[in-house]
């Protein structure tokens, strides 16, 4: 069952017995987050809180809805795109890359056909705090929306630029946005709109359909549109609808849309926040102000949120899953499009926004240096500090195989590059810099630079042709499954049976 809306996606989860509904009242004030953390920690169903008290709007909260099973984090999203459940990482990436190779331009629909316009509030009727924004961790600086799509203008694309920046609520019409210079939308604010003393129109789209949420996590080249790649992902156009108060267009099936402007030369407090590193980061800093002009929403909107900090180590949450399931295939395709012979670019499962694994051929001397520098200079490298290169024959989705490659192949003498060279920018969300090094973060980067390093864990030996060995392995796996061992961990069976990934 493919999903054209967030509600459709929740139905996909329910059909897969991956959703648990709480009908009794649950508070947005830490309680929903605490229950969600328990679900995340135990790799259980996604919780949907139908009755959230003390809010004016009858809204539900969905706790980390994009978190996938630890064994296959992409599994729920795959089904929402009409792909099979149970795909291996490689098969899922192949299927998604095929979809991304065929972007589909969005379709503009009339407002009366857009569910996100069921209820419209503008002007003084706007009340941001009438929705159940969760207070996620008790040391956070405030209540947050942190699983949404920020739509901003882009002169090079008709549909604007989509990206993800968490939002801390301040009052009924003001919020602060975590804008980190180096990322496309913040760059446009800091270096174009603000110098012109011009407000930047934006819309925060909450509860968009999964294809939109996934393309929001992707690093789309300038001149290309996330909206078209979202259409590619779901293999049909995404419906967009014009905003009420600005020229932007937003996904029509979204649960909630907050329209407004990022004000120039205005700042509000942001943070601290329990972040994706698995630690509370701080100190509180000043970030640009989002002034709300309108709020439109569906009847009884479902508001998704992420319990950040639980997607590290063995844990998964929405942000770690979206890195693996969306950013990874997109990056793989991007590197191939740039001419690199890359098998897969996969976020490291234990800290997905800090280190990535790239399986690649070493097709000519110096290719890893060139590949690393290409990535360091063209991607949004504020978050990622490390790349690990492994042979194309190594399954980059298999952390054990990657760890073995590092241990056996990466010579501390020659294969660890750019460690100790502090020349590159870093987000102040990190925990290894001191507060002094982070500084005031005027444009969202630390005062001190850091190193961006890569490890060559490729082998010096050529890979043997192991077709016979693989055939034997597959037969052994079948023997074990026939004897009662769960088929879940076996790679060769599913690749053999589900090659291509399209749902039958």
């Amino acid at each position: 069952m493919a999903a054209d809306s967030f509600r459709d996606y929740l139905r996909v989860l329910a059909a897969d017995d991956a959703l648990v509904t709480f009908d009794e009242p649950v508070s947005w004030d830490l309680e929903a987050s605490a229950i969600t953390m328990l679900a995340n920690l135990s790799d259980s169903e996604v919780p949907l809180f139908e009755s959230v008290g003390a809010t004016d709007v009858d809204a539900a909260l969905a706790g980390d809805p994009y978190r996938g099973p630890r064994s296959r984090p992409w599994d729920h999203l795959a089904q929402s795109f009409g792909l099979s459940a149970g795909l291996s990482g490689a098969a899922y990436y192949d299927a998604i890359i095929d979809r991304l190779r065929s972007p589909r331009e969005p379709r503009l629909v009339e407002p009366e056909c857009a569910p996100c316009k069921d209820v419209i509030h503008t002007g003084t009727d706007v009340d941001l705090l009438s929705f159940p924004w969760p207070y996620v961790h008790r040391s956070d600086g405030g209540r947050y929306s942190n699983l949404h799509t920020i739509v901003a203008p882009d002169p090079e694309t008709e549909w604007g630029r989509w990206s993800s920046h968490r939002m801390m609520l301040h009052d009924d019409a003001l919020a602060s946005l975590l804008f980190l210079a180096g990322e496309q939308v913040p760059n446009r604010y800091y270096y174009e709109y603000e110098p012109r003393d011009e407000p930047m129109p934006v819309a925060a789209v909450v509860g968009a359909e999964p294809a939109v949420q996934c393309s929001t996590e992707m690093w789309i080249p300038t001149g290309r549109s996330e909206a078209a790649f979202a259409g590619g992902l779901k293999d049909r156009p995404v419906d967009l609808v014009p905003c009420e108060t600005n020229d932007l267009s937003v996904p029509a099936t979204a649960e909630l849309v907050i329209e407004g402007h990022v004000l120039p030369n205005e700042r509000l407090d942001e943070g601290p926040f329990g972040d994706y590193f698995g630690y509370m980061n701080g100190p509180r800093r000043s970030m640009p102000v989002f002034a709300v002009d309108a709020i439109t929403h569906r009847a009884e909107p479902r508001v998704p949120f992420c319990v950040e900090g639980t997607g590290v180590g063995y844990g998964q949450n929405s942000s770690s899953t979206l890195q693996t399931a969306a950013a990874g295939p997109d990056a793989t395709l991007g590197l191939r499009a740039a001419g690199f012979d890359v098998g897969a670019a996969v976020p490291w499962r234990f800290t997905s926004r800090t280190v990535w694994v790239i399986a690649t051929e070493r097709s000519y001397p110096g290719v890893l240096h060139e590949l690393a520098n290409f990535i360091f200079t063209t991607w949004g490298m504020l978050h990622i500090d490390f790349f690990v290169f492994v042979d194309a024959t190594v399954d980059a989705h298999d952390p054990r195989a990657v760890l073995s490659a590092i241990a056996l192949n990466a010579d501390p003498d020659t294969d660890f590059h750019q460690f100790g060279v502090e020349r590159m920018p870093k987000v102040p969300l990190n925990i290894y810099q001191t507060p002094d090094e982070k500084g005031s973060a005027d444009v969202g980067t630390s005062k001190a630079k850091t190193a961006k390093a890569y490890i060559d864990a490729t082998s010096d030996q050529s890979a043997a042709d192991d077709a016979d060995a693989e055939s034997l392995r597959a037969r052994a796996q079948q023997i074990l499954v026939d004897a009662g061992v769960s088929p879940e961990p076996f790679d060769l069976l599913e690749q053999r049976e589900r090659r291509g990934g399209e749902q039958l």
Binding site: V20, E24, V26, L30, E31, A34, I35, M37, L38, L41, S42, D43, R70, R138, S139, G274, F277, G278, Y279, M280, E308, G309, T310, V312, G313, Y314, F350, T351, V355, F386, P399, A401, L403, I406, A407, L408, D411, P412, D413, F416, G420, E422, N430, I431, Y432, Q433, T434, T450, A451, S459, A469, L472, R475, A476, Q477, I479, A483, V485, P489, F490
Partner: protein, 467 residues
């Protein structure tokens, strides 16, 4: 002491043993099946065979820690050592150490030999031939020889190349203890404590210490053979005479202990084979990820390092030491109290001194659990500053023995990653971890637990980050 067959019954009772019959295997070699079971973090396997001895794989290994699991890689071995499989890792390390020369012993005890049936020859065992083998293979054996000092044990593996001939590899130091055509007994299917002791003596290069002076003698009843003493409960004993000390032996197979010390080939002539009535012997898919010999080498090395570093400075700052089989023993992880600035440098370098297996050490804070490799594999990238906490030595260190690079003996750098908090940092610099305990006040935690239990009849899992 738990005999090997009883140990397998214990695994079976815990639902951690899968039994396959000949018909199940078709023509797939057991080592391939064993390797796939390990790769999938599956159960140990017993191979019930119509001809020859029964086999067992995965009996000394376990699941990987790439995901959170109820069992640990050492849980089976803990059961075999008479410990609680869910007990602490440190208790496993300490128990292993006590099996060696550091353990206390009142001298050996003796018992009736369980292997009372004489077989026609070694071929009667019908040991399996691996996918890459020319000859039937023998792995996870314990060699026993007698000298004037007593009995000496060491790991041994090899091939059965004829009716009466074995070609084996065993530590050169063991072979050097005898210089003629003395008898070597090969014990297969020994109690877990006995094979663990043999590995411990090998990785510590203490093969000259007779087992009568080791803690294992207190734990495992013994029986004399024409070689040396072997555990009385041994499933199969192959008594051999050294036929050739420099055989033309081309096998590439190496058990993991051979990364720790020099091994030597021997050609052995089989004199007698005795077995229990229904013998079952372990084997390891040597060279494959998570193989039994790899796990035994890793855990005995970890026990050794844990014991040595905690007896070095007069205090015991180290919580645990781990050589993850997932990293093929090429990385050592240590959890410690950072006593003072620079202590991490001392600790890393003493570990490099005490073991030549690895040249990468990862240091984590003392509160990291040994069962939480997931946190280690996150913290090394998140907490360790890529400029300051990845510390490379000058390139004059000897090459480590486990990695594939610099096998020509060239010197190079060693690396330690300091993923522990800097003791010089002010408390306010140190970011608190996001956990259930730290993120919510008690009343909210209790309300959440209650709400969650109403949906999930079982207990909640509140371990930090899913550990």
């Amino acid at each position: 002491m738990i005999p090997f067959a009883q140990y397998l019954r214990g695994l079976d009772g815990d639902g951690d043993l899968l039994t396959l019959a000949d018909d199940d295997l078709a023509d797939v070699p057991p080592d391939v099946v064993a390797a796939e079971a390990l790769r999938a973090s599956g159960p140990a396997i017993r191979y019930d065979r119509a001809d020859g001895v029964d086999l067992a794989s995965g009996s000394f290994s376990g699941p990987d820690r790439m995901q959170r699991r109820d069992a640990q890689p050492w849980s089976r071995l803990a059961l075999g050592l008479g410990l609680d499989p869910d007990g602490s890792f440190v208790s496993v390390l300490e128990t292993i150490t006590a099996l060696g020369p550091a353990g206390e012993t009142d001298g050996p005890t003796y018992d009736r030999q369980a292997a009372s049936r004489t077989l026609e020859g070694v071929q009667a065992l019908a040991l399996p031939q691996g996918a890459d083998d020319v000859w039937p293979a023998l792995t996870l054996g314990v060699a026993s020889i007698a000298t004037a000092d007593g009995t000496h044990w060491a790991p041994i593996h090899g091939s059965i190349v004829g009716e009466e001939t074995l070609r084996v590899r065993t530590p050169a130091a063991l072979a050097a203890l005898v210089d003629g055509d003395e008898t070597i007994s090969i014990a297969l299917g020994v109690p877990p404590a006995a094979i663990t002791a043999a590995y411990l003596l090998a990785v510590t290069e203490r093969l000259a210490v007779p087992i009568q002076a080791c803690g294992v003698a207190d734990d495992v009843p013994l029986v004399p053979t024409n070689g040396g003493l072997v555990p009385s409960a041994t499933e199969v004993v192959i008594e051999t005479i050294v036929a050739d000390r420099q055989p033309d032996f081309q096998s590439d197979r190496r058990e993991a202990w051979e990364h720790c010390l020099e091994s030597t080939p021997l050609a052995l002539s089989v004199e007698r084979v005795i077995a229990t009535d229904e013998p079952v012997v372990p084997f390891s898919p040597v060279g494959r990820p998570l193989a039994d010999d790899l796990q035994l080498t890793g855990v005995t090395t970890a026990a050794t390092l844990y014991h040595r570093v905690n007896n070095y400075w007069g205090i015991s700052p180290v919580e645990w030491v781990l050589l993850p089989t997932e990293a093929e023993l090429g990385i050592c992880v240590v959890a410690t109290d950072i006593l003072y600035a620079g202590f991490e440098w001392q600790l890393a370098n003493i570990l490099f001194t005490f073991s030549s297996l690895f040249d990468t050490v990862i240091i984590v804070d003392e509160d990291v659990a040994p069962t939480d490799l997931g946190r280690v594999l996150g913290d090394i990238w998140v907490k360790a500053h890529p400029s300051r906490d990845w510390i490379f030595s000058e390139p004059s260190a000897p090459a480590a023995r486990r990695p594939r690079y610099r096998q020509d003996g060239r010197t190079g750098s060693q690396l330690y990653v300091n993923a522990a908090w800097d003791p010089r940092w002010e408390d306010s610099y140190i970011a608190p971890r996001v956990s259930f305990e730290t993120s919510f006040p008690p009343a909210v935690r209790e309300a959440a637990r209650t709400a969650w239990r109403t949906r999930h009849d079982g207990a909640t899992d509140e371990t930090d980050h899913g550990e």
